[in-house]
Symmetry: C2
Subunit: 330 residues, 2 copies
């Protein structure tokens, strides 16, 4: 039986996580709007708890377990990034112990933050060992494994981003969000289709990690055979999940973005919005301008700024070249 | 007759600029508060129009001129930084032509932004020629020169930051702000002393550009003899003004900060708050922790994040070393 997530699931998720996560603000840049001749709204999930939208899905999953009298004795997760921090933080909110399996090469800042939320961090040699260990641990009694995207309650939690955004700004013509495992995009599609059926939802992926675009072209989930070389580390996922793929197939379009365009937009959005944003979400702007170039009338676009966790090495490669010399235009 | 600015001047300034500048949000970091054991509030002027508090003073000065039937035919200013953009932006709000004299070595992003607000930019060989040209231009009929800090209405405009902040958060024990020419600090002292007399106001300056600290020690304005070598470019001013010096003498303390501490706090505040902030305002945190180390009870501190305009070269030197490995503590 196929898993279906409804707008009612997302509305219940919003009630569950209310007061635990932030209602994040929506920003816009007068200068950018003038340059492009359209209205762009930025949903600042980089200002969310733990600095990324992942707090919503992790928190909702835990709250849903407790609501259903299925409170686990221990939470586990496997991640090298924002999901690690999100699960650690969510477990702390509900006073549950958490163990997070992370590859040893994860950034120190993320390991440090995960520990700061009270989780036990198990450092493993590589991602394959991480994934193996979490699977074994998940079979233990009382343990619950929160996966990063392919889970109905994780998707319902991420769906609260657009539910909230459409309560904040109306008459949105198109929504753009980055594609990693597809959890945020799936949730955005469900919320947007339900509340604003005319609004288009579009995904954006690094060209160097375009498993979702390939999967959509082949009409079957494609898995990357090696860790992709992209600065958009939140979109390095090797493949989407079976639940998220079903929703990704409802996307209007999936844009694939070159590495230098990712850096270009990260520099410019950081500069114009004064927010710290990950390359993974800044790249969506390249999708936005490509789409706007095909539009004849003035459009109102919502861009989800999914997170703001960047380590020092990424900062250095991000700012190596100066892209601020070349002003954005259509 | 000495120039005196009162809380009434600042309250009038707030009414004048209402609707033109943003009421900026106040942020805090749960993680940082846990680590330090105190409550720190950050007034995010980096999210102000033009990305810095300077919009307030420039806007107030122009609105005040118009209110007093002294609307000039042309506005001029000399600056290599945020004041250039602020005056250009403010002039645009009132449909007045503006000419900004800038040194040719100013960052391209700032020149570009100043032009984007509709101002004519006159690039000069160096800062000395800039200052000479603006003085000559100021003698022309119908021209009004808005100086960067030593002007009662500029100071009254900057005073609205703390007027607003004290309306947003109460029971603040201490306020910390960076010292460039002293306009923001002067305004903060006037507002804070009037509205919350028990609250201490403290200044922070780069050790490498410590003309204000030297002036306070000598009890007379000291002028740096060369352009100081600091990453905190907003605090590179060679000397404070006669009006601002009078107010700076009312400060509780002036902290002087080493360059590596400036980078340390810029990395950490960027990381924790997910905001793009200039080294000039991040350095205030070093003053905060030095002061907190002397405190026995839990304190509530307001830090003014004055701006968020950073060019690519500064980004590169800022992130060259990884300071995120060393967690902040008292």
């Amino acid at each position: 039986m196929p898993v279906t997530i409804t707008i009612a699931d997302i509305e219940r998720a919003q009630q569950r996580i209310d007061g635990l996560v932030h209602e994040t603000p929506v920003f816009s840049s007068t200068v950018l709007n003038d340059w492009l001749g359209h209205e762009i709204f930025f949903k600042a999930e980089c200002l969310q708890k733990i600095g990324a939208f992942k707090a919503r899905g992790a928190c909702n999953t835990l709250a849903w377990l407790i609501e259903n009298n299925a409170q686990p004795e221990r939470i586990i997760a496997n991640s090298s990034g924002n999901h690690a921090q999100a699960v650690a933080w969510a477990a702390q909110q509900f006073n549950l112990p958490a163990t997070i399996y992370m590859p040893g090469y994860s950034s120190k800042v993320k390991i440090q933050a995960t520990r700061a939320y009270g989780a036990t961090v198990e450092l493993c040699e590589d991602r394959f060992i991480v994934d193996e260990k979490v699977k074994i641990a998940a079979t233990e009694k009382g343990v619950y494994w929160i996966p990063p995207y392919n889970h109905p309650q994780v998707i319902a939690g991420q769906g609260t981003i657009m539910l909230e955004a459409l309560q904040q700004v109306d008459n949105i013509d198109a929504v753009f969000a980055a594609c990693g495992g597809g959890g945020m995009l799936s949730g955005s599609i469900i919320s947007t289709h339900a509340l604003s059926p005319k609004t288009k939802v579009m995904g954006v992926e690094p060209l160097n990690a375009n498993d979702a675009a390939q999967s959509l072209r082949m009409n079957a989930i494609q898995k990357l055979t090696a860790v992709p070389d992209t600065i958009a580390d939140g979109a390095m996922t090797l493949s989407v999940g079976d639940i998220t793929f079903k929703y990704l197939q409802m996307l209007e379009e999936m844009y694939e973005v070159e590495e230098e365009k990712i850096c270009y937009w990260t520099q410019w959005l950081t500069h114009l919005l004064k927010l710290r944003i990950e390359p993974t979400c800044a790249m969506t702007m390249e999708g936005v301008v490509r789409w706007l170039r095909t539009q004849k009338s003035k459009q109102r676009v919502m861009v989800i700024l999914s997170g703001g966790n960047i380590d020092q090495r990424t900062q250095m490669s991000l700012w190596e070249q100066d892209y601020l010399d070349l002003q954005p235009q259509l």
